[in-house]
Amino acid sequence: MNFDFSDDVTTMRGEVRRLLHDRFPRGAVRQQVDAGAPFDRDLWRELGAMGWLGVALPEAVGGADLGYEALCMIAEEIGGALPPAPFASSVYFAAEALVLFGSAEQQVRWLPGIAAGEAVGTVAIAEGIGDPRPGGIATVAAKGALTGVKLPVVDGDIADFAVVAAKGAGGEPGLWLVDLTAPGVTREAIESLDLVRRSVRLTLDGAAAEPLPGGQDWPAIERLLDRAAILVAFEQVGGAQAALDMAVGYAQDRFAFGRSIGSFQAIKHKLADVYVATELARSNAYFGAWAIANDAADLPVAAATARIAATDAFSLAAQENIQTHGGMGFTWDSDCHLFYRRARELAVVAGSQRYWRRRLIDRLDAQNHG
């Protein structure tokens, strides 16, 4: 038995961390946000050149074919470093959808670009308030064209294409490939909690689209969500760990009443609780990594479990990082808010805790019936 990342992946983690740290020391992201242009296209190409964007993609489409363990590790590091790169949208969602459901031609059209950091993809399932559900899809596909409004579409401002959920002829939602530079596509920036992962309202007015052949039913969309949930969970775990590390560092350095505030049990025990939540989330995410790497039958349960734990851990860690920082944590320049905002954004964007809790228990219930 070996329930840890492989030695190769562990070695690679060092590289990933170094590059992200060099390119994005704490505060650099915030400065790019302040400058109004968070997306860094050079970085995107660099990530591509390092082989990280296509780390789990087949070599045939420009990937490194190093498997999902490596991708999970990169997701964790991305979550801690918060680089301004459309990693989740392009890699967990758009590329995954193409790999799972796309035709060979569709894969060849877009995946090499993502792997190289030349293209950006995204996914458009949500249509406003609500969790993912078939009844929540009003966008219609007819005669190879989509009509409807998608919102929020993360990284929609910079994406070249989107995988869009729309109802086909039979009324069943499926996934469609849309070139976002084509006619009939309108994107309007909308304000969002997350300052780095920016969102748009995507209006499709007869925009040309082609179906992903393998993705023409709701279970396909759920499968995409499940797999993405595991990858997002690693981002969340990485974010939780980074927020915890910030809080621990500050608590050690900050003195009050003649002693380090980290010597007060109120702070010690708060951070111990954050650690516990983060470790449980990490452990659940590990099982998710195993499930996605092995396409295990348990994947739906593993995904919901990893997702729920990671969302809670990141929320707690981000929130209590601010609290540990006291007044300083409440300032823009402290960077604490970047995690706090990201934690909430990731908590809802692939469906809320409510949605994942219900799916988890429904699945466990079904297993027990079967």
Binding site: I129, G130, L193, D194, A256, F257, Q319, Q353
Partner: protein, 412 residues
């Protein structure tokens, strides 16, 4: 138990209502605002005008002596006015610190000249006051402050940095606490001043908060000269003056900003989950009920305090409950309100996010509520020590001269 007014109270309440009806519109469900929180110059002007109107009609200083333009009313009348004023759309006040905290402190410690000069313009809305207490290295540990005051002839020369000052950028005067002697124990070496905010050497800079807005300032003091006549209380008695000022805080009712139960209730009554109203969902009910119970408990606890106050009792540290509970409740409600919106929860566009994105905005100011005015941790300490009688924390700085107390800087 009796919620009805005495005849005197009823008469006063009628008088208050008549005054308010004559000057400001009543709140209605329709005119509720989900406002952002930074004060514009127009807001300040409106606040000044409303303060003057109240003062001219005898409602600004209900607890103040008549000599300073007050009413010499009862605590119950003070409460009644606040209860009634809450039902009207009035400008946000910039006078809580001056009228509620600073001037009562001046009345306790001030010289005849100070008493002649300051209270009346504060009451009538002519002068705004702020509070220069906290420092970057002295927040929860206020007595650890390092802003130095050195006597120089008839003046004091002050150098240092203050932080978390509300209203500093449009204040006329400040209540300032400094360290005049770093060689004695930390509580013993402090001296208190009244300082003109237009003095040379005062530099006010807004602090950008995590929400992107600025409600607080940093105040840098560089060789600021303060005449000794502006000293409040004896040299070395600054801690006592500061504590007196903070104790007066209990008479100023801090407005609880929402969202609160009513707001998340409204949200859940309009939102559909799994084909039914969210408010009918057992999981939602669980959260709603607990928030209602907390809000109601705080409301009735406040009524109990007011009863004690009206009987001449001094409300104790149990008032810490209010902030402790409501700050976390605010953060929880904001978080939950966002999560209920599912995939669009992080969107702040008012066309999508209900109630002008109030829950999203609240998420960003809620963390400050758990910190400002005493962190959760400090408040629990206060309750444990002053209400329950448990021992104080072991003091690492006990018996040390201030300049011998360990700090990260000196050790790092």
């Amino acid at each position: 138990m009796d919620f009805s007014d005495t005849p005197q109270e009823a008469a006063f309440r009628a008088e208050v209502r008549a005054f308010l009806d004559a000057h400001v519109p009543a709140k209605t469900p329709g005119n509720r605002s989900y406002a952002s929180r930074a004060m514009s110059p127009a807001d300040v002007a409106a606040s000044k005008a409303w303060q003057r109107t109240k003062a001219e009609n005898g409602f600004a200083g209900i607890l103040w002596p008549k000599a300073f333009g007050g009413r010499e009313g009862t605590p119950m009348e003070h409460i009644i006015f606040q209860q009634e004023e809450e039902n009207y759309l009035v400008p946000a006040s910039v006078f809580n610190q001056g009228v509620g905290m600073a001037m009562p402190t001046v009345m306790t410690f001030g010289t005849p000249e100070q008493l002649e000069r300051y209270p009346r313009p504060a009451l009538f809305g002519d002068e705004i006051w702020c509070q220069l207490f906290s420092e970057p290295d002295a927040g929860s540990d206020l007595a650890g402050l390092r802003t130095r005051a050195v006597q120089d002839g008839d003046d004091w020369v002050v150098n240092g940095q203050k932080i978390w000052t509300s209203n500093a950028h449009f204040s006329d005067y400040a209540m300032l606490v400094t360290r005049s002697d770093p060689t004695v124990a930390k509580h013993a070496g402090l001296t208190f001043f009244i300082v003109d905010m237009k003095s040379p050497g005062i530099d006010v800079r807004p602090i950008k908060q995590i929400s992107g807005t600025s409600n607080f300032c940093e105040v840098f003091l560089s060789d600021v000269r303060i005449p000794d006549s502006q000293r409040l209380g004896a040299v070395g008695a600054g801690w006592k003056v500061a504590m007196t000022m903070l104790a007066n805080e209990r008479f100023t009712v801090g407005k609880t900003e929402g969202p609160d139960f009513e707001d998340i209730f409204l949200l859940t009554r309009g939102l559909e989950l799994d084909g039914r109203r969210a408010v009918d969902d057992p999981a939602v009910i669980e959260h709603l009920a607990d928030w209602y119970v907390q809000s109601a408990g705080l409301k009735y606890a406040r009524l109990r305090s007011q009863t004690a106050l009206s009987r001449g009792k001094t409300p104790g540290p149990e008032a810490s409950i209010g902030k402790l509970v409501s700050a976390s409740k605010l953060q929880d409600i904001a978080t939950y309100g966002i999560d209920l919106l599912g995939q669009a929860g992080a969107v702040m566009d008012p066309a999508v996010a209900p109630m002008n994105a109030w829950f999203q905005h609240a998420l960003l100011y809620a963390p400050g509520k758990r910190i400002a005015g005493g962190t959760d941790e400090i408040l629990r300490n206060i309750i444990a020590e002053r209400v329950l009688g448990l021992p104080g924390d072991i003091r690492a700085d006990k018996g040390l001269a201030f300049n011998q107390v360990p700090t990260s800087r000196r050790q790092g």
